[in-house]
Symmetry: none
Subunit: 192 residues, 4 copies
DNA sequence: TATGAATGAGACTTCATTCAT
DNA sequence: CATGAATGAAGTCTCATTCAT
């Protein structure tokens, strides 16, 4: 019926994304996706080699893209403080713009992270780099970079998780300044 | 082999726990578990009604138990600051004592949380209650409790996640004071 | 590319023939053929009603044609000995001229033979007729015609099979006199 | 229903064998086999890793077994003439004892032969060895061993094929002496 | 209680065929 | 005539669960 060219792939992607988030990847069947998208099951295989490939493409593309945007963004600022603030605002904007996609990246991490090679630029990678530079510049005391990155990530991501579950109802962008402050204070300041 | 009654159930539970964490719940088959535990496939059904039941029991028991421990613990302290510190140390001790179980609770959340009724006491519940009390007592300024709880949870959990992935190699207990400080500073202090 | 009318049909036929021999008929997909021939999948259906039709046309045309050539040829000789010799040389020449086609007829037999009606003239038919005539003429003793035909066919075809598999490397035409002799000696001579 | 232990595997094998011969391997579905055998589809996978594995096991076991029997048999005779006669009688007896199995080996050859490693002992291997020894002993003139083997094989196999198709109706054993004679006369005798 | 062969629903995937362009 | 995206029936295989032993 729908023979509308290259629009089909995007339709499948959006439909799959939604179902993956709602039911989980393994729990979502090809038939679920095809039915919800209004295409035949076989049609999925014209656009993706397999269900795994679909899940991976959805993850990889957006995960990497987001990390790169983050990296470009941070380069436009000089201090750790400004870089961090910009990145957090970006996180929030991303979530608000496409909560389903954000949620997918969150939930798919555990399963897909095995396929992420060390060379790939990820949000974690970028955050660690930025923090390490800030430490080198003595903006914050030198401590365990991994630990610092984990805590900062945690503050932002867990709020996003609560938002995704409906425990928090604000737009994340409305909370971004709170998050910026909180994250900054998580990094051990001089004199503490 | 392993025909000795109720020891079998624990054997199956430990084996399942490990496999669930390593491969994911859906990706782990009854045969996987039976083989790894050295019992027959049918044996699992002597102890658990179904695979879902096994996964749920593993989750529910430990999730609730931990929350209750947390609740009992916090009651032994008076101030938010002390309660929080004790709870965080408990988190860390739990992780270090049984990282596999902790990881399971972490990963199973998304799938099992649908079955968690609002009445159940969970770690989040306890944390929110404690923070709300602290705000009422003016230990910290009154703000969004959910948000505050999310940020505190995030700091601790994300560090645990990094630990589980091997990005951080310290025992969590060695980091507990750092986490206590960070979590405290995440809660908006008076005068800020 | 390759939009030039009836050349396309031959292109498809040659491509299909090769793939059928290499991988088997059922194992060769329409896509395999289309890709290898450099045409679209749909194009095949401009020239053949179905895949089965393609396989059948390839078989039938050549199987029948060859049998008719054989029949015309044998009519130009008077004795069984000469007829047989001419036919065997023809077999060898056919193999050498188009080993892929010959192999196809060989392998397609089992599957396609069900569609061969008794009226159709085949190589076996012709051979049996010729042998029967020879027996009637007392060139060779009268015995089971079917059996005699089977043995003669076997000598020639099995050598062709070995050749197709690369076990024998000579051109069949170089072996034709050997085959002629062998086949003749297989037919029970007078006095034996 | 049928929980009759190790009998199931043989039941599946016999059923598959028959269907493979009747319809072809690719054309026979797992469901066909399961239904005809009166077991569930999944049951096949308790005994064979895959359909291919089933087809291969059926082929390999019997193909190799038969070749070994042939080899043991020929060792009990001294001359090529006697060895050959014994082997041909064995072929005929095999066909008559289990025509379905024999037919399967015949038809499966093309598809399965790719998996036959050169080290494996096959009927062709044995035949070539025996002929080569006979040539070395000057029982027959030295000529191309492969060619000689092909012709001998051809005589016997094509008769079997005709028998399988119903073109010949005798038991092969009733024809064995005719075949022995014919095969012997195919090998170039001294003085010719 | 334990076993493990058997089950069968259902998942993923393939592929011959159609049809709008 | 050619194209190739779309179709959907059908095939292979998996796996949670049952049940006779």
């Amino acid at each position: 019926m729908a023979r509308n060219g290259n629009h089909t792939k995007e339709l499948i992607e959006r439909t799959a994304l939604k179902l993956f988030v709602d039911k989980g990847i393994t729990e979502t069947t090809i038939r679920d996706i095809a039915t919800a998208a209004g295409v035949a099951e076989g049609t999925l295989y014209r656009h993706f080699a397999s269900k795994d490939e679909l899940a991976w493409e959805l993850f990889q593309t957006n995960y990497i893209t987001f990390a790169q945007e983050l990296d470009h963004l941070q380069q436009r600022y000089d201090t750790l403080k400004d870089k961090l603030a910009a990145m957090i605002r970006q996180f929030c904007a991303f979530f608000d713009r496409d909560p389903v996609l954000f949620s997918y990246l969150l939930l798919a991490q555990h399963a897909q992270l095995k396929k992420v090679t060390p060379e790939m630029v990820t949000a974690v990678t970028v955050l660690q780099k930025v923090i390490a530079q800030g430490m080198a510049r003595r903006e914050v005391p030198e401590t365990d970079v991994e630990l610092a990155a984990a805590m900062v990530m945690g503050v932002v991501l867990q709020v996003a998780v609560f938002r995704a579950y409906g425990r928090i109802t604000n737009n994340l962008s409305d909370l971004s300044e709170t998050l910026v402050t909180a994250c900054w204070r998580v990094l051990p300041e001089e004199g503490h």
